[in-house]
Amino acid sequence: MTTAPAAPALVRRRDCLVAGVAGGLADHLGWPVQAVRVAFAVTALLAGAGALLYAWLWAFTPWAEPLGPDDRVVRRAPVAIVATAGALGAAILAILLAILDDGPADGNAPDWLVPAALAVLLAAGAGAWVSFIDRPDPARGRRLEVWVRAALTAVLALLAVVLVLGPAARAWPVIAVLAAFGALLGIGLVYLPALVKLWRDLEGERVRRIRDEQRSAMAAHLHDSVLQTLALIQNRAGASSEAGRLARAQERELRSWLHDGDALADSDLATDLRDFAAALELDYPVRIDVVAVGMSDERASGELAAAAREAMLNAARHAGGEVSVYLEGSARAVDVYVRDRGPGFDPAKVAPGRLGVRESIIGRMRRAGGSATVRAGAGGEGTEVHLRFETRVEHG
């Protein structure tokens, strides 16, 4: 055994006939699938050992790992339809036998009892299968469920009526009434899984609503207490002080958690620049306001983002204090302005050896097909960097 290559793990195939048990076992043992199926069928005849083993494996073997997000379990055998057909056949047989019933002369139990019981069992099974297993499957789903239920209800009701009103009731008064009652119970069993499922869904919905309520109650509380305190700290300590910056970073984090805790983090340019601003505020004595207007499909990984980050870093490093970042995306172009109120600087006077601004901002934008201007801010105070990126026409 130790020399044999490791057998594949015992998992159920996702592309299967009924439950993937035989296929999975065949993969594991290296046998042909049909052989495994025959083995199950034969051993099932030995006092049900095979059926028991099948049920055991069904319950305790996991599904194979999905290969992708769209890799859903496919069951090729229409189990619900087969069970429904069986139930219908058995019920019709029972109805015919009940109509033809001519009294207890030929035995001590009515002929229609076994088919009737079989019909109820198969109907309950079909109902459970369509509710629990077929409903998530888009190829079967709700329509099949409705048809299966309707057919089973009709035939079981007919069976009950025939048993009570037909000749069977005269021949076997007690057994016929009990059997009719059993048929009605079978109708209940057909619908029971749907009710269980509905109840579960409602319960899930209720839990979700409670969680939402708790969350908004917590948000309201934090808004009234922690956020106010953080604002107060910023106010008392000064916006550019260490304590003020820490309070601001905490406030930002808490706020984004409160307001879009469940939303997926999208990596558009505005979000990326906001995150970068938050990081800079921790490292430098600076307060960066990021205002974004309009829609932009500009990605955070683009050259524009890199140049904007560089401009923000320069402003934080050399100017400090208040920095304004304004981002406007329109159908034709994306504009980013980074404005600081520092000592200002003249790109013409920068030593040729210092490549910072020229290469990382102006050169980068030009290579990417955009433009960048660096000039003194309004009134000669500070510096303003303007990055512009024309959206390509085919881009949309």
Binding site: D224, A231, N235, D289, Y326, S330, Y337, A378
Partner: protein, 221 residues
């Protein structure tokens, strides 16, 4: 400022009120304080200040669908027509403030602002100007469709901004002070202020879907 400006501070946090009182400019006198909606209405009606510094989130409101600050404005603004309201918000989110602005506040300032900034804003509001932060200017540009190229054909149109108003809002969003906006656009500071006031009026009166939707979302929170 020849006269001292009288203000009432409405905020449910006493630490914040006393901190603000200590930090305000000397030309500003705090004549009253209030911590919830009913006492704010009473104090404002009794003292008739020049300016009310009004917290957006206040306890004691009778209607849960409206923020406390907006309710104060609704209940008392018509009684004291000469009083200007400046909203104070713990957040810099314009959505938080649009409800109060639409109820009649002349601007808003965040609670993280320094005493000097608050004092400047109080003086501006007392002088009849509107106070716009970069964030609010950005919100306005978005809400009035400026970024997608909507421009008012006539000046008195309520649902869109004129080209000049858009320029002014863009510069404010870029962090320019009114004086810098004036210098950049070669217009007087008074003209800038009148553009900002006109935008504020549109913000208060417009029935644009985006504005009402934001206000509704705010109330639901």
């Amino acid at each position: 400022m020849a006269d001292t400006l009288t203000v009432v501070v409405v905020d449910d946090h006493s630490i914040f009120r006393s901190g603000l009182r200590a930090d305000l400019d000397r030309s500003i006198e705090v004549v009253g304080e209030a911590a919830d909606v009913p006492s704010a209405v009473a104090v404002i009606a009794a003292t008739r200040p020049h300016v009310v510094l009004l917290d957006v989130h206040l306890p004691g409101g009778s209607d849960a669908s409206v923020s406390g600050g907006a309710e104060v404005l609704r209940r008392v603004a018509s009684e004291v027509p000469s009083t200007r309201f400046l909203a104070l918000s713990v957040s810099d989110k314009a959505e938080d403030v649009v409800g109060v602005i639409r109820a009649g506040a002349r601007g808003y300032i965040t609670k993280g602002a320094s005493g000097a900034e608050v004092s400047r804003a109080v003086q501006a509001v007392a002088g009849g100007d509107a106070v716009f932060s970069p964030r609010l200017a950005g919100f306005v540009l978005d809400a009035f469709g400026a970024a997608v190229g909507e421009t008012a054909a006539a000046d008195d149109e309520l649902d869109r901004l004129s080209a000049r108003e858009q320029e002014v809002m863009r510069l404010i969003a870029r962090g320019y002070a009114y004086k810098e906006v004036a210098a950049t656009l070669f217009i007087s500071a008074k003209t800038v202020e009148s553009h900002v006031s006109s935008v504020l009026r549109k913000l208060q009166l417009s029935s644009r879907h985006e504005l009402t939707a934001w206000a509704t979302a705010r109330r639901l929170l």
